[in-house]
Amino acid sequence: MSPTDSLEEIAQRRNAARAERKCRVSVCSGLGCESVGAGAVLEKVRARMRLQGLAEESEVHLTGCRGLCQRGPIVEVEWGPAEAKERRLYLDVDEACADQLALEMATSGAPPASLRDHGGEPFFTRQTKIVLANAGVIDPEDIESCIAAGAYSALEKAVTEKKPAEVVQMITESGLRGRGGAGYPTGLKWSTVAKAAGTRKYVVCNGDEGDPGAFMDRSVLEGMAIAAYAVGAEQGFIYVRAEYPLAIKRLRAAIKQAERLNLLGAHIFDTGFNFRVDVRTGAGAFVCGEETALIASIEGGRGTPRPRPPYPAVSGLWGQPTLINNVETLANVAAIVRNGPAWFAGIGTEKSKGTKVFALAGKIQNTGLIEVPMGMTLREIIFDIGGGIPGGKRFKAAQTGGPSGGCIPAQFLDLPVDYESLQQVGTIMGSGGLIVMDESSCMVDVAKFFIEFCREESCGKCIPCRAGTVQIHDILVRITHGLGNFEDLEKLEDLADLLRNTSLCGLGQTAPNPVVSTIRYFRDEYLAHVNEHRCPAGVCAMAGSTAAREPSRAHSVA
């Protein structure tokens, strides 16, 4: 590759080469597939192609997460003449199956008819992909394949054809809102940072959450660069959790490759625009998802929050104006610049535009990563795309927003999922975790699980959060051991109110949400625990029952 090639030349060369090849086999390399041997499957296909003398005429590559993690390794094949390529998608591909597939492709030019194609299933067809559009098309460790799919063309358009203010205007018009939590309008945030006075400005990508980021590295980096151009920053930080080593490795490689092609660094696209990105690795502190704590952590200190205002947009990293956006927010930016704000605003609902990525998990048939337009109902997400609840069990609740969110009971299954409607039922969009629970989950136990998490993750700076989470947890431990009484419920509600109104940061303010939401919708379960000392789901080891006499395993008794 020559560093002087323009993006267009690279894209044309790669696309022409791909069109001419007889076949293409892409193997999902997301964490789920890697854990069940995707690497070995890839090698098997490559070896067989080589053996059949087809190495030159076939393209065998890794690709980003296909979403249906539980059915990995996932393999897609594409074959036929350039103008009429056919595609098939296979699940649960083991090495033997991969070998058979490659052999058949090499000898007859098409995959074996005996293998079942899953590409047409609702899990794949009912999604709308913007952020995850390139999963399956690109090789996450090869920048040229990403450029062939259009990566960095939006950055080129922004820095060579648009003024920074015009870019901010585009984002404002698109209606994009922050994907990390409360849904603050992204354009408004950008214009605040753009207008703020400061000698240096920074762009921070908040990746301190459950988004498996591997497949969208480049659109994230491109989005960060566009944001930097729009607000006048020259330095960016991307904060990734240490628990995601695969994402860190791929990000570092992606940054290096982009720097080599002058897509990041100095004089990007031969303009006066400079932008450097550094990866910062988190170290296992949930509170660092809060923006002021995140700043403290990037500065190398303990991740403790501070009161706002001043907001980071005015005084952030090292006291300078800092734009902090969530990974998914930034991953939308390039597509908006490429396709125009009107296109983006045409997707979703009146107040929530675009799509949302969800990590479907828990008691659901198809677990994995999906992207759907805002406003799709929970029923469609869980039963059509997710395939419903396994084992003939009944749906009980969907949990969104993690420890800051709440549970949505069955009566709201037809709720369109957007920022406002989720807020109305007492939860938040959050970063996209959607955990389904069936009748075998005890909602009091779930509330206890979340508050235990917040208790441990509280940074200890402010008293309401530090002491309040301990008190709430103690009460819930009592209740789940059959030792609670009716007044405990009132105490829980009082404490929840206190934490909400007096905690310093989002962690403490939202920590009681799972408790409040489960009391609101599953009060009868709480009442069974405190009045009858009975756990309807049979999860809690109640005093007097046989289970209670066994030593408590996962949780200690307060």
């Binding site: 498996p212 190398g300 677990t367 779930v446 395993r553």
Partner: protein
């Protein structure tokens, strides 16, 4: 506590790891802001952060020991005690919890005689630690054996994997 030669944990021992740690700090231009990144490098090299390593880092970056210690103890990822030869990390994220991670954790700890407070066996062969989501919700419950992520295993399968380590 594992019996280790003094040089392994002491920065003054002059082994290669110290040179690598110094190189890592040089790459960060000995900036105090890079403390977290440097601690990551040190933990990768030594497996844990000993008092001597922390002091050495503090002196090199010109950060008071109180702050180095404060940062090292604030984050769950850093360990001030040596870990076992093998580590079993049980993910206790929500998706894994709903799928029975609590039981897996209890069974593995029981098997090795470990608890919330005691994470490494006396012979230093195995450690059991809890992660707050390893990002593998789609294959929950997720367990990481050393560096390798495994999904969908029941308590029995996890216990038998770990049993292999201590024999």
């Amino acid at each position: 506590m594992i019996a280790e030669p003094a040089s392994a944990t002491s920065p003054k021992g002059g082994d290669k790891r110290l040179k690598m740690l110094d190189a890592a700090m040089r790459r960060q231009q000995f900036q105090a802001d890079a403390l977290l990144e440097v601690l990551h490098s040190a933990q990768e090299l030594y497996g844990f952060l000993s008092g001597e390593v922390l002091l050495h880092i503090g002196r090199s970056l010109k950060v008071p020991p109180s702050r180095v210690y404060g940062v090292a103890t604030f984050y769950n990822h850093f360990s001030l005690k040596p870990k076992g030869e093998h580590t079993c990390t049980v993910c206790m994220g929500t998706a894994c919890y709903v799928k029975g991670a609590g039981e897996i954790l209890g069974r593995v700890r029981d098997e090795l005689g470990l608890s919330e407070r005691k994470s490494t066996t006396d012979d230093g062969k195995a450690s059991v630690v809890v992660a707050r989501c390893v990002g593998a919700c789609g294959i929950a419950p997720a367990v990481v054996f050393d560096q390798e992520v495994a999904g969908g295993l029941g308590p029995e399968a996890v216990v038998s994997r770990v049993r292999g380590w201590i024999r």
